[in-house]
Symmetry: C2
Subunit: 161 residues, 2 copies
């Protein structure tokens, strides 16, 4: 199966809009298997839970592995609206995933946060690219960057401060 495929990122964007409507960060992820089925889908849940790791990627990876009852989901690809942080990129490596497709970049989020300072939606970043992390782990995940980037970037504006 050749990635990236638009419908999976469209699904992420749809979920991110729902997340914004719930007052959450407008960020979402899906995990897609080798047959093209969506195994799991999650939104960023930081605002509603006391879990500092409730990024959509980490939630979706964990959810997919739980469903499979296997900590390795080697055929699966992660789709996500924003470049995954080092925590979430590392989780894809630990799960031995096949690849990551992301939309907006870390830099996009950083620039947005500087223009729109907020105590609630801080858009804090750990300034290390997804690709940097992926290159230093085993297996070597394929990284597809900036897919539907402008649409994913436009999601940032959906939340108020």
């Amino acid at each position: 199966m050749e990635h990236p495929i638009e419908k999976y990122m469209r699904k992420c964007i749809e979920l991110a809009i729902e997340a914004a409507n719930l007052g959450q960060y407008p960020l979402a992820s899906v995990v897609v298997d080798a047959e093209g089925n969506i195994v799991s889908s999650e939104i960023n849940s930081l605002i509603s839970t006391p879990d500092p790791t409730a990024h959509p990627e980490l939630l979706a990876i964990r959810q997919a592995a739980m469903k499979r009852n296997n900590r390795y989901i080697e055929d699966c690809v992660l789709y996500t609206t924003l470049e995954p942080c080092p925590m979430c990129t590392s989780a894809t490596i630990w799960a031995k995933m096949a690849g990551i497709v992301y939309g907006a970049t870390q830099q996009d989020a950083l620039e947005y946060s500087m223009k729109h300072p907020s105590d609630v939606y801080t858009w804090r970043q750990i300034l290390i690219p997804c690709r940097y992390i992926a290159e230093r782990g085993v297996p070597k995940l394929k990284i597809y960057e900036g897919f539907l980037r402008e649409e994913c970037k436009a999601l940032f504006k959906l939340i108020s401060r």
Copy 2:
């Protein structure tokens, strides 16, 4: 409160020995608050659960935040027997923790894995130091490296293949 303090790492070592007895990776972590209380303690649970993120650090951070009902545990320090991976180091930053104290280094684990290849206990590493991650996040966590290192390193040998 000045860290590192030996009794917290001794607690981690004790837990890591228990983990080995359960067939888990001999790795453990505790989260210590500003008064010196242990808020949470966890062992590596990768072997028993299908959760690829079940590192002791991530589990302990999540557990501490849940107990506090707050995703920020700013007064807390993480103690852990092995240098935290990029996933777990990032989680300490997202939780705005005060610092990390670790024992054995990533390099120690890498060298051990090369001498003792195993399909079960692979000791896979993402080759990025904890300090590298910590320097690129906000807040800037204090990192105490190699505390009781030899004893923490000796834990690796407790598991069979």
